[in-house]
């Protein structure tokens, strides 16, 4: 009987591990909204604004046909703003190694992602994408392309990154409004 008991336990434990939510929040700032607000207003919001302005300079025509409307990453869920921001920031980090996108633009986007994760004290789950943040802070000594050259490039990864940036900014706006009450 005892080995039957242990067998049942052994079946349950793996089940528990499999069924446990993968996306459980790993952010530790939680209720420290004042601290979050100060860091966001004084530092992060300016980086986001700069990134949005650079993003707006790029041609948008090729991006309008395919909108990633059903991608859940771009949703800023009610009462789950921190988790949504974490999800967006971690998703944005994957673009850091996309060679088709301008390097400086990728770097700035990764800076904003890392800043978001740092302010919210979040991690990116199993894949540990935040390791990219170690490389992001290294200075970029390579020549950057001109704005005109950048405007001619357009690919779907770039479109997705633009949408990610827009969603991240909106989610931060929403979060700021909530914690400003």
């Amino acid at each position: 009987m005892s080995h039957a008991f242990f067998r049942s336990i052994f079946r349950v434990l793996p089940l528990l591990l499999v069924l446990s939510p993968v996306n459980s929040s790993s952010c530790t700032m939680g209720n420290k909204t004042t601290e979050i607000r100060v860091k966001y207003e004084n530092i992060l919001s300016h980086d986001i604004e700069e990134l949005v302005n650079i993003s707006a300079e790029y041609r948008d025509r090729c991006c309008k046909n395919k909108r990633h409307e059903h991608n859940k990453v771009f949703f800023c869920n009610d009462t789950q703003e921190i988790e949504s921001l974490q999800s967006m920031a971690c998703n944005m980090l994957k673009f850091f190694n996309k060679q088709k996108i301008n390097k400086e633009f990728r770097r700035k986007a990764a800076l904003v992602s890392c800043g978001t994760l740092q302010v919210l004290q979040c991690k990116c789950g199993r894949h540990k994408k935040e390791k990219v943040c170690m490389q992001v802070n290294a200075p970029n000594n390579e020549d950057t392309e001109t704005v005109e050259q950048l405007k001619k490039k357009c690919n779907q990864e770039f479109c997705e990154l633009k949408e990610n940036i827009s969603s991240l900014r909106s989610c931060w706006n929403k979060f700021e409004k909530i914690i400003s009450r």
Binding site: R37, K174, K177
Partner: protein
């Protein structure tokens, strides 16, 4: 034979579409969220629109398509839609579609995807209050009907009665470092959602103004204005007229000046006084012609007058002179007599 008819149909439809589009079609749908209390989406004015319009809206991945429940009317035409607070969801992509129908045909006018948090127009600030701080410093404070004060940025516009243009300063509280007690100041404030909470360019209306300046200053200003009015409209014209009169009188009295302005017509009378008074009209003497020249014009010989005349004509008898041969007295019937000299 149906082919010509069939080919006309698309042309007719195209024409109707063009007609609908050209018949003052709306340029686009403009939505504004007023203080996050209600929203209006408008597509034109009653002066330019003629068709029958219907608005449908939906939020991405959240709600089905719904029709506007409260239309805005102008001159019997739907020109917009009003949304109550319960129908507004921010931070959710919002879509609007306006259908224009005329003569049984429907033209769809789509709009862009909207983020309503970026279309918020807060109400104008209220309760503007000025306080006197130490050392000639003023502090202006206000409050806003918008519920989330941390999401607002403000601009103060001010001017004194001696300034010609307005000054604008950003800030949540306005401090005026050195105020002049001789002047009368006017202050306005307006607000906008800041970049932390949204991305909008919609400023609120300017607030009701607040003034600062002592009561005597304002009264003195009115009196000063009245003084300037009397000076400009009465004193200066009278003084100018008097001055003009004095100048005219002086001008007339001073002949030296008058002669320059009104020169006399030259009168050569005086030049000929010598001729008539001294020389008794003797022009040659007055001119000074030499006597030998005068003598040379006098004749130095004399001639007697010789009278010459012609005897009268008397015709003679035929026996004396042959016919055709005139006699000495048959020159003509005329009697000539002349005087030769």
């Amino acid at each position: 034979m149906a082919v010509p008819g069939a080919s006309l149909v698309p042309i007719l439809l195209l024409g109707l579409g063009i007609r609908l589009a050209a018949a003052h079609s709306p340029a686009g749908v403009e939505c504004i969220l007023f203080n996050e209390e209600y929203m209006t989406c408008t597509w034109g004015s009653g002066q330019t629109l003629t068709a029958n319009y219907s608005l449908y809206y939906w939020y991405e991945n959240r709600s089905p398509v719904a029709e506007c429940k409260q239309y805005l009317w102008e001159r019997g035409v739907r020109t917009g839609c009003r949304f109550e607070q319960s129908e507004i969801i921010q931070f959710q992509p919002f879509h609007v579609r306006v259908n224009a129908s005329q003569d049984g045909r429907i033209l769809e006018i789509p709009s862009n995807r909207m983020e309503l948090q970026n279309l918020v127009k807060p109400e104008a600030p209220v309760n503007l209050t000025i306080r006197n701080m130490s050392s000639n410093q003023l502090q202006l404070t206000w409050s806003s009907p918008y519920p989330k004060a941390h999401c607002l940025e403000h601009v103060v516009k001010y001017k004194s009665n001696k300034d010609t243009s307005w000054m604008e300063v950003k800030g949540d509280i306005f401090s005026f470092p050195s105020v002049d007690y001789e002047k009368f100041y006017t202050f306005y404030v307006r607000s906008k959602i800041n970049n932390y909470c949204g991305s909008t360019q919609l400023w609120s209306e300017w607030s009701v103004p607040v003034f600062w300046g002592s009561n005597t200053t304002s009264k003195g200003m009115a009196e000063e204005q009245l003084q300037w009015f009397w000076i400009h409209t009465v004193l200066i014209p009278i003084a100018s007229c008097l001055l003009l009169l004095v100048l005219v009188v002086l001008l007339v009295r001073m002949e030296r000046v008058w002669v320059i302005i009104m020169p006399r017509i030259p009168n050569p009378n005086k030049n000929f006084d010598d001729l008539f008074i001294t020389h008794n009209g003797d022009f040659q003497e007055w001119v000074g012609v030499p006597k030998d020249v005068v003598e040379s014009f006098k004749p130095n010989y004399s001639e007697s007058i010789c009278h010459v005349s012609e005897l009268p004509y008397e015709p003679l008898q035929d026996s004396i002179h042959p016919p055709g041969v005139p006699g000495p007295q048959e020159h003509g019937p005329y009697k000539n007599s002349y005087v030769g000299a």
